[in-house]
């Protein structure tokens, strides 16, 4: 079961919210590699939003290798494969976030504790 929650009071754009929630639910094993995700028109219809918005989220997910087109032209969740690219990408993006956190006054203990908390919530240890 895929759950998408759009909150118009948040600053995040709608397509970002869709993107983040799909990623979040893959990470927490709520949805699994190989699962078909709803078509952009179907999701847009249920949520009463423009399907171009959903397409934008799907496009970004595809570019980042999180979903892929299956043979029958439906998007499915990609298989996990820890490539060198994925590690480099993670390192690059994490550097920006850690730098920003340190500027705002967090020390390395705070950061490690937060990361561990997030990982524990996912049940990944």
């Amino acid at each position: 079961m895929l759950k998408i929650n759009i909150d118009y009071n948040l600053e995040d754009t709608v397509y970002r919210q869709i993107y983040n929630q799909i990623v979040e639910q893959i990470a927490s094993s709520n949805i699994h590699p190989g699962d078909k995700i709803p078509s952009s028109r179907e999701m847009a219809g249920v949520l009463n939003i423009n399907f171009h918005t959903v397409n934008k989220a799907y496009q970004l997910l595809r570019e980042n290798g999180i979903i892929e087109l299956s043979k029958n032209k439906r998007y499915i969740i990609s298989k996990k494969n820890k490539t060198g690219d994925a590690v480099d990408d993670f390192k690059k993006r994490e550097t920006d976030i850690i730098n920003e956190a340190m500027v705002k006054g967090l020390n390395s203990d705070d950061i490690i504790k937060t990361v561990k908390n997030i990982l524990n919530l996912k049940g990944g240890g």
Partner: protein, 359 residues
């Protein structure tokens, strides 16, 4: 004219329909009152509670009147249309309440401040619960098995229809088609209902954020709808089996026995509907997760009951006033299904009337 069994069963039908309609406001999504989406803080307001009570009492009075009329009226034709009349009459009670609340919402500026929308998409590769459809299929098959075994004992001409007093008034000559006519009907009905259950299983849903744990509720709601719909052929086919038996002379024709499975089915649907509520609103979940408002979707609903949304790919959506699903009139395919669903009972009623010699 003496009160016939037909009058008694129709009276009971009218009474049950009336009670179901009276209870609808207590089974809908928590944030949808008389087909109007209202903000969280007004769900239990005095205005809303008073409107629900007025509706309940008006409908109960109508039900009492219609039940009484059905019992005393001597015309079979009118009696058989009474269930339809009570549905129309009680819809007339709903409409003013709907427009009144719509006006209150507009005039008092009940706006959705916490604008949120949550969709639940069933993407798991979990198996469709076919096995719930097995009782219905088995009963359908047993019509053909008993019919084949008993075939040589069936008289050359046999009664196929009885009037309201249980006297035969239509006959058929023995042939595969005439002997197994109810069996063939049961195959068509069973196939259509299983298809419907599958469509429900595939339909994505939007939660009601005014109930805590909305997504857990909609999943339970969807599951229970699928189970219940898959069990329906078991009841309908039982009635067809009993009718076949009386047609073949195995059992004596008795309208009361014929409709027992149908009444059991109505009771099952009633209990599931009330215990579950629309989108699971009546399910007891021990959780005080916070609730939030929904986004305003009134514009997609005409009079709060007809869903018209060309941008929604779904052919069926959950009803706003009642428990279960309705058609998306914005989709041509939805319209086709609607006409099919309507034409079946209409055809059955017309055929019954013609064979009973009423028209």
């Amino acid at each position: 004219m003496a009160i016939t069994l037909f009058t008694i069963t129709e009276t009971l039908f009218v009474f049950i329909i009336g009670i179901i309609i009276a209870m609808i406001p207590y089974m809908t999504e928590k944030s949808v009152i008389f087909g109007v989406r209202i903000p969280l803080e007004y769900i239990n307001s005095d205005i809303v509670n008073k409107m629900k009570k007025i509706y309940l009492f008006t409908v109960l009075i109508f039900t009492a009147i219609f039940t009484f009329i059905t019992l005393i009226i001597p015309y079979i034709f009118i009696i058989s249309l009474m269930p339809l009349f009570i549905i129309i009459a009680e819809f007339m009670v709903y409409l003013p309440e709907h427009y009144k609340l719509e006006k209150i919402k507009r005039d008092k500026h009940w706006t959705m401040n916490e604008n949120k929308v949550t969709g639940v998409f069933n993407i798991e590769k979990a198996k469709f619960p076919w096995f719930f459809g097995i009782p219905g299929i088995l009963i359908s098959v047993s019509i053909f098995i008993t019919g084949s075994l008993y075939y040589k004992n069936i008289p050359h001409t046999f009664a196929t229809h009885y009037n309201a007093n249980g006297v035969p008034n239509a006959y058929s000559t023995k042939s595969i088609g005439s002997v197994f006519i109810l069996g063939f009907i049961s195959i068509v009905i069973t196939a259509m209902i299983i298809l419907l259950a599958f469509a429900i299983y595939k339909t994505s849903l939007k939660t009601d954020n005014a109930s805590p744990d909305g997504e857990k509720r909609v999943m339970l709601f969807m599951e229970r709808m699928v189970y219940t719909v898959l069990l329906i052929p078991a009841f309908i086919n039982s009635t067809l089996l009993i009718s076949s038996f009386s047609m073949w002379g195995i059992l004596k024709e008795n309208i009361l026995v014929d409709i027992i499975p149908i009444f059991l089915m109505i009771i099952l649907i009633l209990v599931v509907s009330f215990k579950t509520g629309q989108l699971g609103s009546n399910i007891k979940i021990n959780n005080d997760n916070k609730v939030s408002s929904n986004s305003d979707d009134d514009s997609l609903w005409k009079a709060g009951v007809l869903y018209y949304n060309k941008n929604d790919t779904r052919l069926m959506v959950p009803k706003r006033f009642g428990v279960g699903y309705t058609i998306n009139f914005g989709r041509p395919a939805g319209l086709v299904i609607f006409i099919l669903l309507i034409s079946i009972p209409v055809a059955v009623v017309i055929v019954t009337f013609i064979s009973a010699g009423i028209i």
